[in-house]
């Protein structure tokens, strides 16, 4: 217990990922859904960093770096789209987002 190994970090990462999944499945407000997506990305980052540390490999950190970059751009574009949708429909409830039915 005292000795923190790779498995501890991986379990932590998994728990955070599960929390992120709960959020993704549960949230009906699109903005809050994005928050949950951020959680998912962060949990993966932890896993990458942990593996990189325990195997002495920098690849993990590089990957985490690029994940952060991508997450940032995703947020920008996502919010932009959300604004366009809001102008059309005046609400951002997920249940109304069903024009792709069938």
């Amino acid at each position: 217990m005292m000795e923190i190994g790779l498995n501890h970090y991986l379990v932590l990462s998994t728990i955070l990922f599960a929390i992120g999944l709960i959020g993704v499945m549960r949230r009906k407000n699109l903005l809050l859904l994005f928050f949950a997506t951020e959680i998912l990305l962060n949990s993966v980052n932890i896993a990458f960093a942990a593996i990189s540390h325990y195997y002495g490999d920098l690849t993990g950190q590089m990957f985490a770096f690029f994940v952060i970059a991508i997450a940032a751009s995703e947020v920008a574009v996502g919010l932009g789209l959300l604004i366009v949708w809001h102008k059309r429909h005046s609400n951002i409830n997920l249940d109304t987002l069903s024009t792709m039915k069938g």
Partner: protein, 640 residues
């Protein structure tokens, strides 16, 4: 000669199809005339064949076409005209022609005139197939055909519920017996490898007695249904719901004699199993007296005549059972003539009295219906067996057969029945035609039937009178195929005592009947007299409560069982299973439709579910790879 065979066989069919063309239209005379004429043509062809056979010509045997040739089974549509079948053909065509012409007059005002002739000619066609076929399969086709046409004709007035019920009863009872017959036919094929009469009967002596016994029993079960022997007899009395020409043709002369024909045709089989023959004879004797007793008190003239038919069928089976096949066939022939005549006369009476059936409500009709009275009296005299009419030569011969073979119980029973027969026949005659006029008070104004109908009945009357003279010629002809046992009583004294004693017994019975039923104070019984409430009367009136027994203990439980099987098994189990499968598929469809609802949240959930699925697969395959060695040993242990 073959062409006469085909003409005789197919002329009724052509007539039936012709009349069927007019089936839905109102009555047209031609729809009745053409079948009747075609039937007359068939009669002529049969007569030519008869002359041919009588003159010593060889038997006409044709094979029209192959029906089944599969593996070892070979069944052709084959027809044979030998001495036995030509006798039957003559009887059938003669009575049918008479009945057809009669029916033109009888069904004069009926809406279903055309349909009637279609059914009637179809019936004759089926009967011809039955008697002319040369193998058991063709016999069975004809058997079923007459059953079907009988159903259609008994239930001819299908608006009447009693008629449809009677038709169904007849058909179903026949069907039950047909099962037995089918088993018999299967046994014949199984043991002899063929269904042709000639080959099958030739192979039979080689079979063991038990097999032959079973074949004989099962074939006789079929005959029991068709010829209404006990216990499958209730349909015959109820079949009187049909029009009277139907009763005359089917239930006097032709269909009910099919059973006798079967036994006669299979005489080579029954000769090998005399114990079954004795059983048949005993059953026949029992039926004879059983039916005669029920006819004593019945108040429906057609039913009385129907019971009389049943009784005479018992006589025929008694003769056939005792090995006197030619005697049975001769009685069949004679009986057909006078019984048909009796029915047709009853038809005249019914028409005159507007379908009234109770003889107690008639009386004194002899004044207005002389012709019918003469004809019916002649028929009854023939039925009673008075010398020199036909009945004497055939019925008394059967009594002699029983006596000579030392079956004294059968002899006694048949003798008693002869007396009863005379009594109830003349009871009816007396009640209808003689005595006081009871019908005018009830508002009936009877008149005689159309003259041409009387003329049409005349040939039957003539034959009823002279048929006895044909016995010698008949014997010469038919013993070419049937065993030619001559029946002579040993001593002349015994013979004359027997004959004269029988005649006296019958005459006394007739006298008693006349005395009782011609007296001036016959009242219409209304249920209050002591006689009517006596035990014996009640039993006889209710047909020994046998129909009641069948209804309570056979029909009702069967119906309950059917309802249970329908409601509980069929609807709840079978239908539920099928509907359940469909329901499952439908519900699955409804539920999975949510996958495509366009709702992002749902799709996200499905995405996670899919991911889990793939993760599980990864775990499983990973474990399989890791432990592949151990898995292989386990599987080889199981034998894969």
């Amino acid at each position: 000669m073959e062409k006469y065979l085909y003409i005789a066989l197919f002329a009724p069919l052509v007539g039936s199809m012709f009349a069927a063309l007019f089936g839905a239209r109102p009555k047209t005379l031609i729809a009745g005339l053409v079948p009747s004429i075609l039937l007359f043509v068939s009669l002529v062809a049969s007569s030519i064949l008869l002359v041919h056979i009588l003159g010593g010509g060889e038997v006409v045997h044709v094979e029209m076409m192959t029906w089944m040739a599969t593996g070892d089974l070979y069944i052709p549509f084959g027809f044979v005209v030998d001495q036995v079948s030509v006798t039957m053909m003559m009887v059938v065509t003669l009575v049918s022609t008479v009945v057809h012409f009669y029916a033109i007059g009888y069904m004069d005002h009926d809406k279903g005139f055309n349909r009637f002739f279609a059914w009637l000619s179809a019936f004759v066609f089926s009967m011809m197939i039955l008697v002319m076929s040369d193998n058991f399969a063709g016999l069975f086709i004809g058997w079923e055909g007459v059953g079907l046409c009988s159903w259609g004709l008994i239930g001819f007035w299908y608006h009447k519920e009693s008629a449809t019920w009677a038709a169904n009863e007849a058909f179903i009872m026949n069907r039950i017996a047909d099962l037995g017959m089918l088993i018999g036919i299967f046994l014949v094929y199984w043991n002899t490898g063929t269904l042709q009469y000639a080959e099958a009967f030739a192979a039979m002596p080689a079979l063991d007695s038990e097999t032959l016994t079973w074949i004989g029993i099962f074939l006789f079960v079929g005959a029991m249904g068709k010829s209404a022997q006990f216990p499958l007899h209730t349909w015959l009395a109820d079949a009187m719901e049909g029009p009277t020409p139907v009763s005359a043709l089917i239930h006097a002369a032709t269909m009910v004699t099919a059973g006798v024909y079967l036994v006669v045709r299979s005489n080579e089989l029954y000769a090998l199993i005399p114990h079954i023959g004795l059983f048949i004879a005993s059953l026949g004797a029992f039926v004879a007296i059983f039916a005669a007793s029920m006819a004593l008190v019945n108040r429906d003239i057609k039913r009385v005549i129907a019971y009389s038919t049943l009784s005479q069928l018992g006589y025929m089976f008694a003769a056939a059972g005792l090995g006197a096949y030619w005697v049975a066939l001769f009685h069949l022939m004679a009986h057909a003539f006078f019984k048909a005549l009796l029915f047709l006369g009853a038809g005249n009476v019914m028409h005159a009295m507007h379908d009234e059936l109770d003889p107690f409500k008639m009386g004194g009709l002899g004044k207005t219906m002389k012709g019918t009275m003469i004809l019916m009296t002649l028929a009854s005299v023939a039925l009673a067996g008075i010398f020199p009419l036909a009945g004497f030569f055939s019925k008394d011969l059967i009594l002699e057969v029983a006596f000579i073979d030392h079956h004294f119980i059968i002899y006694g029973v048949l003798l008693l029945t002869a007396g009863l027969t005379a009594f109830y026949s003349f009871r009816i005659i007396a009640l209808i035609f003689h005595g006081e006029d009871r019908h005018t008070a009830l508002g009936h104004h009877p008149h005689e039937a159309y003259t041409f109908m009387l003329w049409v009945m005349a040939p039957l009357a003539v034959l009823a009178v002279i048929a006895g003279a044909l016995k010698g010629t008949y014997f010469e002809m038919v013993t070419a195929v049937l065993p030619a046992t001559e029946y002579h009583v040993h001593s002349a004294a015994a013979y004359w005592t027997m004959t004269i004693g029988t005649q006296l017994f019958v005459l006394v019975a007739i006298y008693l009947a006349y005395k009782k039923y011609m007296s001036k104070d016959i009242k219409i019984p209304d249920g209050t007299s002591a006689m009517e409430n006596s035990f014996g009367y009640k039993i006889l009136k209710n047909q020994y409560y046998i129909p009641y027994f069948y209804e309570e203990y056979l029909v009702r439980p069967y119906r309950e069982l059917s309802t249970i099987l329908w409601k509980q098994v069929d609807m709840k189990v079978v239908d539920a299973t099928v509907d359940g499968i469909a329901g499952i598929i439908h519900t699955t469809g409804v539920k999975t439709r949510d996958m495509q609802s366009g709702n992002l949240s749902t799709m996200l959930k499905w995405m996670v579910a899919g991911t889990i699925g793939m993760l599980s697969l990864a775990v499983v395959f990973g474990l399989a790879v890791r432990y592949s060695g151990e898995i292989k040993t386990i599987l080889s242990g199981l034998g894969v």
